[in-house]
Symmetry: C2
Subunit: 594 residues, 2 copies
């Protein structure tokens, strides 16, 4: 069976000891986010995830969502669990108190998201989307729009969606056909069909606020002719009372590999009343607020599932008796040793653990910079933090979802044949994790974002936000003998990343296909190196605390760091070689011969 | 949608041009296996797979098997498709004509298996198991047993199973509790519960021949006290007529991640009549005949699914219009270019293709040696071939099933969001492929077999069966300028493999945990290097034929070979580094701290 206990100790370590998140209280608006409050939030949210969300995860997968005449029902218990989640305030943790939110840091919000995804990713998607829609409206909505829509969304009584994809138009949104006709009253009439709309219809909230990409009659062709509209399921009267049903309906739901308790809807818009959000024809820019938010949130999905896979596999490996240790029986009084004695089982567990703990540090570092970018009084600090978030967003999305799938698959492997049986729960993690590599921009698109946009932005300024602290760290720690196990491997990977970066930047200028050919391997190289940076920093902290280590927490950190450096990080050498081979091996074969 | 056309051209290339399989006709008993006959078999079997097996693959997955009061029903159409398959003789291709088989080479049988797995792995499992049981009985059964059981199995009227696993005993079969009590008539009474029994019960055959591991009353403890029994579902009278139902019944079927059209059964034996096969207490040795057979067959499952994933993804990538080529519009008359213009999509397709075509060559090379080991008149040639098969069996099983899953996942990724939707069929490939890494000895067990048994056997003689031809090839081709792109990378990987082999052999003698710690990475290093050897040989053939290349077949081989060498094979450098890091990073953390 899968098991999950919210990893509060590790979150506390990342926040307090690695990132010194107590400095968050120095940011205007976050004065109350003291370590004690953060601790209390993590404990309470963790308890709800363990006790309310987790028990519904298997049943939700088996039961799935149902569709009947336009009505979509979530599996049994999901509406109640959703209500418990939002009523505790976990959905609106980071929302502005002006609209009823708790005004807490995104750093904390990311960790609550991780826990929700660990225990029940299908359920976590609903408040996650609402939060993304909230951020978009908070940033781009008129004051009137904000006053009308945000409080109920923050409350969780209404939810949000993002409606982008059409059957012939996914990655390439310039092809969308949904139209928006201006009406006499300043609103618009939206018509068209959207597919793959997560929570496009469901029975857990009173209203659904769709954020829809559509084209105005005078729109320029392609991606520069897209506008964004707010289209509610039920119209809302001036006094806030619920009005009639709008011209939007769910035509069907998809049958999917996983996240079966989260409905994926075909949404039909027929002269639906909608309201322009942000400037006309600038819908992609507006939607990007939500997409960036969603990309980080999807990264948390990968991380959350990896954590559950790790905990479950470690638990199983300590219990399952099978075979004997190669160095002699470890439990001679039992019919066999627990399988955790076997080096190859440990390899799998440590791989999962090193990715998960490293990924948590990466996600928290990114979220902390999101908070700094939003709140810091100093312009330069804000810009710096915003640069780092922009740079790391595609990495958090793609790398953490890739490792989410890898860890889920390793978890199945540790369980052996039982991993393949539904009732054990491990195969569900694989199916649930798989979507995260596909939606919110497939991982190949994240890689193109990294090499094609982020790398060159402001002549490499974003890159320097990672390279400078990396170099500073190497210089500061290089000479310390106790840090050799960690700094040297990191420095080696870092050198490869710098060299690959320079090569891609140069080649890409000459021929963008060269950058495209390197993109996916480069993103992984970057992710692995970023984790090495964070593992080396975690090792530095753990070395300092090693004297006072009753529980063995710091010893485990150091052992996992050493494992990461010696058995995972070497991947960077093959990625580097593959990148430097260039585009030719990819492009020479004619399309017809595939 | 998934598409599949039997890859006859590539099979022909591997058989005739790479491996010179026409030499099979020189082996006694295979005189009729001429290239023409082989061609005819491949075409006919391929047609049946495409036209009969493939159309049932999706419906079988959706409908699944049903269980009611001990009766298990396959999905609609499966019984008929199974009958068409066995009546065409594809199930008994390699069986001895004495028992009604066609007496054709295993090399050909492997390719037919691949095609069956490509089109419908759930269905392919049933005749595959029967074939394994056939081989076991042919090798170990008494003349009476053979005469009684084999003809109906070859015919496909009766099927076979292997009953090893019990709830507390999977990898560690020494723990089994199933008992066999001698009866007065020389038979035995078998009692116990077996789980995970593929096709343990089904409605497509008239009888089921279970091969069951159990312990005799005087059995020594552990793995050396296991015997093997033939336990039929229905007893068979002396005259061959069907007798009463035996004391074996299916208690339930598992709900699984995939291969849903293949029932996985809990089998209860209650004083079931059984017959000893082979010597008492030597059941593991006897069962290994079937396990080795099954391991090669499972490798074909990985390969078969990889082929379907590749073909489907390539087809989709040529059709799906989305975005524009980074080097300017390729299809300016269309709203967008087909996604095959994008380097990253090509990276995914070529990865799948390089693994699949290379894997087919590896599987065929192994099967060819199986034929030589079985039929060659010269003892030395037989021994040499048998050594190579022993060495490559764990690699074919683990490496080809790992790449099966990798390719299935890449296929989903090429389809983007559509890959996650059941009706498109791609996610089923991922679910179906996943089992192959788990059953017939989880892949970690294959790796231990390689480093713990095969590596040291006959003081390294098995290894030399690969190392010698590898070295000879390098020496012969090294100086040819047109072969530089292929020989140099292969030689580099080959050097790493030799060095890692020497290191593991040395360390492993001193401390078996060192070999265990290296095992999985070493098996992959070996698999990648073996594929490099075969790709280099295929490139040599293709270079010779490049002048006469109307279809572009040889050009595609060369391009894929170059891709393999430059973008896949570099993995060997990181595997080498991980291996050489040794066991310490795996073993230092105390089990309680996981």
């Amino acid at each position: 069976m899968t098991v999950y206990t919210a990893p509060i100790d590790d979150m506390r370590f990342v926040l307090n000891e690695l990132l010194h998140a107590e400095t968050l209280t120095e940011l205007p608006g976050y004065e109350e986010a003291t370590p004690d409050l953060v601790d209390a939030v993590l404990s309470e949210a963790g308890k709800l995830c363990e006790e309310v969300l987790l028990p519904l995860n298997r049943t939700g997968d088996e039961e799935g969502c149902t569709y009947e005449n336009g009505v979509v029902r979530l599996p049994s218990g999901f509406k109640e669990a959703y209500e418990a989640f939002v009523q505790s305030g976990w959905g609106s943790l980071a929302a502005d108190p002006e609209f009823g939110g708790q005004g807490l840091p995104a750093t904390l919000g990311a960790m609550v998201k991780e826990m929700a995804c660990s225990s029940n990713i299908s359920l976590a998607i609903l408040p996650g989307l609402t939060e993304g829609a909230y951020h978009l409206l908070e940033r781009w909505g008129s004051d009137e729009q904000k006053a009308k829509w945000l409080p109920k969304m923050v409350e969780g009584t209404w939810s949000g969606t993002m409606c982008l994809t059409e059957p012939h138009s996914g990655t390439d949104l310039g092809l969308i056909r949904t139209r928006a006709e201006p009406a006499d009253d300043g609103s618009y009439r939206i018509s068209g069909t959207k597919i793959f709309i997560s929570c496009g219809e469901q029975d857990a909230t009173e209203n659904i606020v769709h954020l829809v990409l559509a084209k105005l009659p005078d729109a320029p062709a392609g991606i520069r002719g897209i506008s964004l509209f707010l289209v509610p399921k039920f119209l809302v009267k001036e006094d806030g009372a619920m009005g009639p049903r709008n011209g939007v309906a769910c035509g069907s739901i998809e049958h999917k590999m996983g996240i079966k308790a989260s409905p994926t809807c075909v949404m039909n818009f027929e002269d639906a009343e909608g309201y322009l959000v942000g400037p006309p024809h600038k819908g992609m820019r507006v939607m990007f607020t939500m997409m960036n938010d969603a990309r980080l949130a999807v990264g948390m999905q990968g991380l959350g599932l990896a954590e559950t896979a790790y905990q479950s596999a470690a638990d199983y490996a300590k219990e399952r008796l099978q075979g004997r240790s190669l160095s002699g029986a470890m439990a001679p009084d039992k019919p066999a040793d627990p399988i955790i004695v076997h080096p190859d089982v440990r390899r799998m567990l440590l791989t999962m653990r090193a990715y998960t703990e490293g990924g948590r540090a990466l996600a928290a570092w990114t979220a902390l910079n999101l908070d700094i970018a939003a709140k810091h009084p100093d312009d330069a600090r804000r810009e710096e933090a915003d640069d780092l978030v922009s740079l790391l967003t595609p990495i958090v999305k793609a790398f953490l979802t890739d490792i989410g799938s890898e860890c889920a698959n390793l978890g199945v492997q540790v369980f052996g044949g039982h991993g393949y049986i539904r009732e054990w729960g491990m195969e569900q993690l694989v199916r649930d994790a798989r979507i995260a590599q596909l939606y919110e921009g497939a991982n190949g698109i994240q890689a193109l974002d990294l090499v094609g946009r982020k790398m060159g932005q402001h002549t490499g300024r974003l890159l320097r936000r990672f390279f400078h602290p990396g170099m500073d760290f190497i210089e500061a720690e290089m000479e310390k003998s106790e840090m050799q196990d960690f700094v040297l491997p990191f420095a080696k990977a870092f050198g490869r990343l710098q060299q690959a970066t320079a090569w891609i930047a140069q080649q890409g200028l000459r021929d963008p296909e060269e950058a495209g050919a390197a993109a996916t391997d480069y993103l992984r190289l970057f992710g692995l190196t970023a984790l090495a940076y964070l593992w080396a920093r975690m090792a530095a902290v753990a070395l300092e605390k090693a004297g006072d280590d009753e529980t063995g927490f710091y010893r485990a950190k150091l052992a996992t760091a050493r494992f990461y450096m010696t058995r995972i990080l070497p991947q960077t050498s093959s990625l580097f070689a593959a990148i430097m081979a260039g585009k030719k091996p990819l492009m020479e074969l004619e399309a017809e011969l595939f």
